[in-house]
């Protein structure tokens, strides 16, 4: 019973976030993404020059993808993942160690100061 209640709470929290996202999608800021060139392809309102440029871009991109071997594609996506995960992770571990070391040092100096004050 508890598990069901907890799952409902999680779902409600998720629903609130989704509502906030839907509200965000209605703002002018969100609209600014819909008017950028990236949105042209889906709207289908490109002029002939733009269509030609888009076609050339797609062709070039497709050729590049064809040239890229499957192994390179696998590796590049995992390298990106590793880069995005490992660097912040290492930084966090470093900062944690530094803060722990400084608090330990502070405690040590406090302990040393106490007997001096007492005497």
């Amino acid at each position: 019973m508890n598990t069901i209640k907890q799952t409902i709470v999680i779902s409600l929290a998720a629903a609130l976030i989704v509502l906030a996202g839907l509200w965000l999608a209605e703002t002018d800021w969100a609209d600014s993404f819909r008017t950028t060139p990236a949105g042209f392809a889906t709207e289908g309102t490109t002029s002939s020059d733009e269509a030609f440029a888009n076609e050339a871009f797609v062709q070039e991109n497709g050729e590049n993808r064809g040239d890229m071997s499957a192994v390179t594609r696998y590796l590049s996506s995992f390298v990106k993942e590793a880069f995005l995960m490992v660097i912040p992770g290492l930084l966090t571990i470093g900062i944690l160690q530094l803060t722990k070391r400084s608090t330990r040092r502070r405690k040590k100096t406090k302990r040393q100061q106490l007997p001096e004050a007492a005497s």
């Binding site: 999680i10 998720a14 819909r34 696998y74 995960m85 803060t99």
Partner: protein, 168 residues
Amino acid sequence: MNQKRKKLSDTKKNLLLDIGLFFLVLLVSAPQATGLAIHEWLSIAFTVPIIVHLLWHWQWIVKVIKRLFSKLPGETRFNLILNLLLFVDVVLASFSGIVISEAALPAMGITVIIDPFWAMLHDLTGNLFLVLTGVHIAMHWKWVMNALKRYVWQRPSTAKPAVVTGGQ
């Protein structure tokens, strides 16, 4: 003794789930490697272990939220903020992924028009998810290493007697 054994098995359960989640994160975050269809179906399946992960840490969540406005250690407060951000990010990434789905939803007979805003949000939250996951793992690095040492790198000959004596 039984309590101790239960605690150990909880750690083992958490470790197994977290290892599974880690590999799922790696697969889900690499659509270029897995292909779009696998990316989308795995992402839908990903919600289940995430909910289980949250349920297994429910006591911690409730305890820390209750003490949010009283005195809390800095590390715990940081963990709470990080986990809240991670939750918001996962929800937004999942929802934006569903909205721009090109394989899973069409397979269910639902056609979607790709909105550039949701596509941008999906990219942004996807990358942020990796960064936050990296920090989340780093915050629990000590626990991860201890659990791995205990259950994965431990010699079986030293592990067996402990289980036998625990049961008696």
